[in-house]
Symmetry: C2
Subunit: 363 residues, 2 copies
């Protein structure tokens, strides 16, 4: 997607064909800085310290990190060593392990001398696959925005509410929930995005708002409390959010607060869509309430990071010393509150039947 | 209520019987500082700069400010002068005008030489009336917490979720939504409070958490996104919130985000109560969606105040420079989502019939 008119991905191969470049997302939204990864340690640090985040982008960074690691040796032992060094960075990230195992599976049968070139080819393939999946999600979601534009009689702008960041920064390009918005903007449909702040980590304020500002798409930041009121007053045409895991029955586990917006959407007859790559469907699970919910540190609630008026990035505490906080990171939106799931294969009902129709090979 | 074991009100007469003392709420939760009001200008500044806030407390401060103003003259002209200087501080505050007009009505018929003493008596009466109303709300609400305690089989703790600050700091004492919690705590019923942060002004984190910490009541701060998830998992026994205005039909206008919690409470069969003095019922209005909603500055969304690690109170910006924000301050929860209204006369259904039963003289 564009940053100040120049197209970017969230990760790309350097001009020398060896080094890898990323955007340091920990500095956003206050500083846009490209960082060069020259070694396996550079890649591991980028994942561990969250210069890159978002499951697909973590996978892509691990794949390229694997390439960089091969420069110190490409024997069978090296394949194991590199994999271990990467997987330990964020042990619970599913895409990290997936990417490492895919690289090992592709490279082990080859002679060591041929592994480096094959690794770069495979890392590029992982990236291209992610881009293609997200672009397809964008095209299917675009049709829903076009419908909303028709319902408005093609006047004003289509107002889309989104929660958290499911944009291109979380993937290699396009994003999931934001892909339809980028497509609509490119198509000339006027869109206006309500960006939920998404406390406690404020990915909406820090990342989604930054993406949309960089792309020149009209948007307004709102507190997480405001979406229901806006829906009551007809200010939201549709909601599109991402998801971390979707069950085979269509229950959606996504960033904390998604469920409240889905309730408000249902109460006000606002369509509520969830955009997802098929790879995030958990076919082994048919009840969202069985998904374990990560409890993160209360410090994320008690301390808010930002830029002071003098330009420094600092954290400020918003509560008394004696107060502690509880911080569940995700919630589950039951399938019956979801209008539809937007996948790379099309849009379906959030149900076992709907998903089985699009992914018959999985059931 | 208690602060570090010592009982306080939010406003009180000094030991000399003339000066007035308040807590500088603009410094909370980071500093607890008592400020002495010696002149009318002191009182006006306290209201204007929000050292005091909350409709009942603003009214009480205006009443005592009136007393301080009489020290410079108590003629008829002075009554008008003092009133004007106070009302201009926050022109839209209903209780401010109400208190000023009440003082003028009581004092005008008296000889100037008798006005000062009568003024202090009336200011004290305004405070005592507020305390009595809130304590009665507390007693009626206590019965609901006791019921929840019985439903739990008197085990664990009753978990109450609240939004914004409707505590003693917003009134002269007790508060509205928090009064039942203070009563339950005093009665020995174990209570645990989920404190919604309440973005954008974070009154939950800054004021409700501070009140509960000072009173030694178990509480946890949560982001506004988390309440629905906690209700889904049985972690909330009941919700109690305050209200800025309630219609004759029982619709509740309260701090932005209240509606989302009411939806989640309904979806999870959690009782949702609203605590209010009868004086905040708007008997002229029977549709909450006709209440005009204040739109406040987007800067409240974009900038978050707090205390840095080095101890300074600063604001940090959480979004890119190019991003603007929309900031509706209140929302309306329709009566059908409200389990009951807790008033000084008892608990009633949130409906025209329910309210008419408790306030027959008003209909």
């Amino acid at each position: 997607m564009n940053v100040d008119g120049k197209p970017y991905r969230s990760i790309w191969l350097g001009a020398d064909g060896e080094q890898v470049e990323i955007i340091d997302q920990a500095l956003l939204p206050h500083t846009f800085q490209v960082v060069t990864l020259r070694t396996l340690s550079d890649a591991a640090r980028a994942i561990r310290e969250m210069l890159v985040r978002g499951a697909p982008l973590i996978g892509a960074t691990a794949a390229y990190g694997f390439c960089l690691g091969l420069r110190d040796g490409a024997a069978d032992d090296d394949l194991a060593r590199i994999g271990e060094e990467l997987i330990i960075c964020r042990p619970t990230a599913v895409n990290l392990r997936w990417a490492v195992e895919r690289m090992q599976r592709i490279l082990s049968p080859l002679e060591p001398g041929k592994r480096m070139q094959a690794a770069y080819a495979e890392a590029a393939r992982i990236c291209e696959e992610d881009v293609a999946v997200n672009e397809a999600i964008g095209s299917h979601g675009l049709a829903l925005i076009e419908e909303a534009w028709q319902r408005r009689g093609r006047s004003g702008a289509v107002s889309v509410l989104t929660h958290c960041n499911a944009g291109w920064l979380a993937t290699v390009d396009w994003g999931t929930a934001l892909a339809p918005i980028y497509k609509a903007h490119a198509r000339g449909i006027p869109v206006r995005v309500w960006v939920d702040e998404t406390r406690p980590r404020s990915q909406g304020a820090a990342l989604t708002a930054w993406e949309l500002a960089a792309a020149g798409i009209e948007h307004q930041l709102i507190v997480d409390n405001a979406g229901g009121h806006l829906m009551q007053h007809g200010e939201v045409d549709l909601c599109i959010v991402g998801t971390d895991r979707t069950t085979a029955s269509g229950d959606v586990c996504n960033k904390i607060g998604t469920y409240l917006k889905a309730l408000a959407a249902r109460d006000n007859s606002v369509p509520f869509y969830v955009a997802l790559p098929g790879s995030t469907i958990d076919w082994t699970m048919d009840d969202g309430f069985k998904i374990p919910i990560e409890e993160r540190s209360g410090d994320e609630v008690l301390w808010v990071p930002g830029r002071t008026r003098s330009g420094q990035v600092e954290q400020v505490r918003i509560a008394p010393e004696a107060t502690t906080a509880v911080n569940p990171a995700f919630d589950v939106t039951p399938a019956h509150l979801v209008t539809g799931l937007i996948t790379e294969r099309g849009v379906c009902e959030a149900s076992a039947t709907g998903l089985a129709g699009l992914f018959p090979e999985m059931v």
